[in-house]
Amino acid sequence: MTDQAYNFAYLDEQTKRMIRRAILKGIAVPGYQVPFASREMPMPYGWGTGGVQVTAACLTPDDTLKVIDQGADDTTNAVSIRKFFQRTAGVAVTEATVDASIIQTRHRIPEAALTEGQILVYQVPIPEPLRFLEPRETETRKMHELEEYGLMHVKLYEDIARHGTIATSYAYPVKVEGRYVMDPSPIPKFDNPKLSDNPAIQLFGAGREQRIYALPPHTRVVSLDFDDHPFVASKADHDCDLCGAPESYLDEVITDDQGGRMFVCSDTDFCQSRRAAGHVGRLGMPKMAPPPHPSPTRGEGGVLMSAETSPPPGGEGLWVGGHLPEPEEAAQ
């Protein structure tokens, strides 16, 4: 079957209409989980089928799409989803947050501030913030109806009683416009403040669980906490080793088997732009050497290896399956 056999952005127009209705309802009732008749998509549940359906329903031929996973544009699943829309919708794609009209994301909110007119689409695994306190959907829907969120506060309180702090570091629950408690998807709690008063439209799609919810622009979103234990957005206590940014969320990369590690921006576009603007971190190079590989972030690896004394990691976890380091890269 050729690609022409599929409609623009894969889904048929009837299905898109159904999804758009759910989105509109979600925008009208911020934080409320709207059931929708999620379709089987050509990628598995858990790979972002909810986000893909929401994106498909929002895309127009004039849109510019950015897809990130863990903040990065070139993680395998981000590549796969971006390719899917290039193939089925033929839309322009970008890695630059500012240039994108629709950004589909898994687990992060971009560091660069979003602007009016942008749409941020989140992939959501479990949309129900109360799910791990009450496994039954029939019960949790009733709890939302009655605004009965005591159980959640008890859970947070028990955390404090046990650990002295709220022991939730990602998918940290929020309250939307003083009404619905909402799961912000598994973003690190570092990203939670960006949910609130954001000028962009934020849409959340959970395919397997058949739910869509939304935050219209400039919605007030409050992370749950207590007066004496206020919410704190936390990150690794370092600056980015490549671009020196002190304020961005960092990934920890193990560099050798001697406990060596480095911290780098999880948002690759943010890091890239800063380095292009001349910012240099602890392990970065002042001027970027001509990349030995078309992918700029990969080229970085080669440069860094020469700067570091530690041997390149040989563990298979670090090299993507099917792609082994080229000899000259490894040799450097």
Partner: protein, 365 residues
């Protein structure tokens, strides 16, 4: 060395190429054709059609080939294709009473109108490996059997439960002409209705439904089932054509239907009476049809005024939310996708909690 999960694009392309090569396997061995799979792995094809909710043996066979024999992957391929198909109408309910049966057995009556037809079954085979099948060339083919082969279109094969019903011994189902809900077009709402439950069960994972049914037999929601009747055969699919003003046959499909007769001691509202469980599955899929009817019966506790004893098979939300293997496998396997952002935040939390705990301990000492 910052190359973790980078170069994703090239990796994906390479992985796909490798996969295609692995699928084809040893080039010295003849390639498996789709018609071969359809004809010779028919029960696998049936399972893919049933759980894929699409009656198309050719596509199911193709999916099995493409999925390298991974049936859940094949079901997924079929589902993803099915969801793009336009719906141009609904058929009339199929008349299983007019089924051209190739197999029809009752475990509750020794003989009955329509007869016991054993049909092509593994039931009484001895499970000894037949090395003749492994040898080059076929075992001498048996003479084609004469009479019931491929099922004669018998005028009418009455349902066993109808005999019991004549005496009022079995609970009557309320007939309804309501349009059943469509699981694939509307989000599941709970509590659900029986048509929706049956839909979910018939496309549910065979292993899951089997295990639930088995659990009811072992005491987790006991329903004491007898196979009142199990029948397999072709039925005509009829559709009303508005322009013509009458229904025409648009095709035939193979179905397995199972009706169980269950003991029932009566309740506050009902006198003692037998009750029913129902299973209907695409193709020859006996294990699935029997399992389905047991689980269907277990789920009917509320309607029949029975007690909820907390058995998994009685729990509608538990059963319906976890029966779908495409959903289950997707969510299960997604944990192999990168989670390092979340893991990083957990790392920081654990480090902080540990350092605080250590500090507190040192202070105490």
């Amino acid at each position: 060395m910052y190359v973790a999960v980078k170069g994703g694009e090239r990796a994906i392309d390479a992985a796909h190429e490798w996969l295609a090569e692995e699928r084809r396997g040893d080039l010295g061995v003849a390639e498996l054709s789709v018609p071969q799979i359809r004809a010779q792995l028919a029960l696998a094809v049936n399972r893919v059609m049933a759980e894929g909710s699409l009656y198309d043996p050719d596509l199911a066979a193709l999916a099995i080939k493409q999925a390298r024999g991974d049936l859940i992957e094949a079901v997924f391929l079929i589902r993803a294709y099915r969801t793009t198909l336009p719906r141009f109408g609904s058929s009339r309910p199929v008349e299983t009473g007019c089924m051209a049966v190739i197999r029809r057995i009752s475990a509750t009556f020794k003989d009955l109108p329509g007869g016991q037809v054993l049909g092509p079954t593994f039931d009484y085979t001895h499970r000894l490996l037949d090395f003749a099948l492994m040898a080059e060339g076929e075992a001498p083919s048996p003479a084609p059997c004469a009479s019931v082969h491929q099922g004669e279109a018998q005028a009418q094969v009455p349902h066993v439960t109808a005999f019991l019903n004549r005496d009022g011994l079995i609970q009557t189902e309320t007939p309804s002409n309501a349009t059943p809900p469509d699981l694939t077009r509307e989000p599941m709402e709970l509590p659900s209705t029986r048509p929706l439950r049956l839909q979910a069960l018939t496309r549910g994972d065979e292993g899951f439904v089997l295990s639930l049914a088995y659990s009811t037999q072992r005491g987790y929601g006991r329903t004491h089932a007898f196979v009142g009747e199990l029948r397999i055969g072709m039925v005509a699919v009829k559709m009303d054509i508005p322009e013509l003003g009458f229904a025409v046959d648009i095709g035939e499909i193979e179905l397995t239907e199972c009706e169980t007769v269950n003991q029932f001691t009566g309740s506050k509202t009902e006198p003692p009476q037998f009750t029913r469980g129902y299973g209907l599955v695409f193709g020859q899929s006996e294990r699935k049809a029997i399992s389905m009817s047991l689980v269907d019966r277990a789920l009917r506790w509320k309607e029949l005024g029975e007690d909820f004893i907390g058995a998994p098979a009685q729990d509608e939300e538990f059963v319906l939310m976890h029966a779908d293997n495409v959903q289950a496998t997707g969510f299960l396997e997604h944990i192999k996708l990168p989670h390092y952002v979340d893991f990083q935040s957990e790392l920081e939390l654990i480090r902080r909690l540990r350092s605080e705990a250590t500090a507190a301990k040192e202070a105490a000492e």
